[in-house]
């Protein structure tokens, strides 16, 4: 049971340049795959392709296969894809519907669209809110939340669609430190207590190290490294790929260059 990209290449509509090429990736249920890379390496495009928005909603040309639990995404409608794989973007405010008066209704937006009965809607909203520990926000106006809170509400709305997989495109990049903390804790809780398979794109490699079991590096549209999180995040070539290694790794390298031995407590 996995979200698999097989030999995936993608071009945006009207463009000759392949933004992604020969991408092979797998996200298992119940695990977290981290994605790192410089800006414009194709990470956001990867998210759109994995979730099926590209090409189903935004067009463009996809070569290769995207399979979710064995079923190809190619022929699926956007609303079917949304129930297989959810996606969360960087900007907390633009992905909220902008039409609801309360967080409860915002999280109910997706299930309602699917034509579910009221009981099922109520159940899903309650589940999503409590999974992320934001039940206290249920009565608040989505437009008046802090960035971190809005991001959690957006995440709850996506989870309410009950996808088997979740793609997160730099979810903390627009958040302040407190918001990042909230989001990080929510993601940890999500990874630990649900069977959702998560693809997490992040620049904050420290955060990624604590959440992901495996990490893939994207450079100029290709996967240039993939493996266990520690192994990949220790790779010497990260700097060359435009990726900031985790703090500990940076410190080790700096110490090495200065000819200093690091105390065991840090290693």
């Amino acid at each position: 049971m996995s979200l698999t990209l097989r030999s995936v290449a993608y071009r945006y509509a009207g463009s000759k340049r392949a933004v992604l090429e020969a991408v092979d990736l797998t996200v298992e249920r119940g695990s977290v795959l981290g994605i790192v890379g410089a800006n414009e390496a194709g990470k956001s495009t990867l998210c759109l392709v994995a979730a099926g928005l590209a090409p189903a909603t935004i067009g463009g040309r996809l070569d290769g296969e995207v399979l979710i639990d064995g079923a190809t995404s190619a022929a699926a409608r956007p609303y079917e894809l949304a129930q297989r794989c959810g996606i969360l973007f960087q900007n907390p405010t633009t992905q909220l519907s902008g039409t609801t008066a309360t967080v409860w209704e915002e999280v109910a937006f997706g299930p309602r669209n699917l034509g579910l009965l009221l009981e099922e809607i109520v159940e899903r909203v309650g589940w999503a809110l409590s999974l992320l520990d934001i039940a206290a926000l249920a009565g608040r106006d989505p437009a008046r939340l802090s960035g971190g809170q809005a991001q959690l509400v957006a995440l709850a709305s996506v989870l309410a669609m009950r996808p088997s997989y979740l793609v997160l495109d730099e979810p903390t990049s627009q958040l302040d430190p407190h918001g990042t903390q909230l989001a990080g804790e929510a993601l940890a809780r999500l990874a630990a207590s649900s069977e959702v398979g998560i693809l997490l794109v992040e620049h904050k490699t420290d955060l990624l190290e604590s959440l992901a079991e495996r990490v893939a590096v994207l450079s100029a549209g290709r996967v240039v490294a993939i493996g266990g999180a520690s192994e990949v995040l220790h790779d010497e070539r990260l700097d060359g790929w435009g990726v900031d290694p985790p703090s500990r790794v940076r410190l080790e390298r700096a110490a090495q260059r200065a000819g200093v031995v690091l105390p065991a407590a840090v290693r």
Binding site: R77, Y79, W104, A138
Partner: protein, 266 residues
């Protein structure tokens, strides 16, 4: 969280208070009927009837005082209607007074006052609707009656998008002023500033559309099924009867006015 049928009470709370607690579609229909009668029925009866109805609703809902700003807002339009028609009504010969080239006429004045009443009646009717009906409840009720989800979305999003647009304009203006764009100096300089202000606004709007579309699709917006009603706002047989009577009555008045059958109407 206190719930009713599983749904928290703060979600689409039914409005309370006289007039406000009427079903939103009823309130909408009243406003539409008033608008049609105010402009569509010849003579004084139309506008006077509507003004009376509006006054009654306003008093009942307790929004009388809140209508004042709206009334004040109509003054520029009303003033120009009065001036133009009193002084320039074509073909009128019953002059009130002659001051040099100016010759206001009684016919012109009468027409002007009638036109003013129509405008004011319509404006006050719309104001009462706005003051007694939350957009959310209206959209929710219309959707329950069969309005499509796309129309519901456009209506809901438009209302809420205004603050967002205002915020966006502020951000753009600040960024350009911080680079020396003069918005406080001479007028001709300010006009030149339109491109740096409009450019990012338009481009931002286009980008937004794409992001918004993706966000909607990611929440299954294009699924074919009917959407469940979260909360049905109260309606009653009496109100249904009122809506039918109102529709029929408005039609009669309009047809009567157009065909001239309502001869008794002054």
């Amino acid at each position: 969280m206190s719930l009713t049928g599983g749904v928290p009470d703060f979600v689409l709370p039914p409005p309370t208070g006289p007039y406000r607690r009427l079903n939103p579609t009823t309130k909408l229909l009243i406003a539409v009927a008033e608008a049609l009668i105010a402009f569509g029925v010849r003579g004084w009866t139309g506008p006077l009837l509507v003004l009376a109805a509006v006054a009654a609703s306003a008093l009942r809902a307790g929004v009388g005082r809140s209508l004042l700003p709206f009334l004040v807002a109509t003054i520029p339009l009303v003033a120009s209607i009065l001036l133009v028609n009193t002084f320039l009504y074509a073909g009128a010969t019953d002059r009130i007074v002659v001051i040099g080239p100016l010759a206001p006429t009684w016919t012109g004045l009468s027409f002007a006052v009638q036109a003013t009443l129509r405008v004011v009646a319509f404006a006050m009717s719309a104001a009462v609707l706005g003051l007694t009906t939350a957009p959310d409840e209206l959209v929710a009720d219309l959707e329950r009656r069969g309005m499509g989800r796309r129309t519901a979305f456009v209506l809901g999003a438009t209302v809420r998008s205004v603050p967002r647009i205002i915020e966006r304009v502020r951000e753009i203006t600040e960024a350009q002023r911080a680079r020396g764009l003069d918005t406080e100096g001479r007028i001709w300089r300010r006009v030149r500033g339109l491109v740096p202000l409009a450019g990012p606004l338009i481009f931002g709007a286009l980008t937004d559309v794409e992001e918004q579309t993706m966000a909607l699709e990611a929440r299954g917006f294009s699924a074919p099924s009917r959407r469940a009603v979260i909360r049905a706002l109260p309606d009653s047989t009496a109100q249904r009867g009122l809506r039918w009577a109102l529709t029929a009555g408005t039609l009669v008045l309009l047809v009567g006015s157009i065909t001239g059958l309502l001869g008794f109407v002054p």
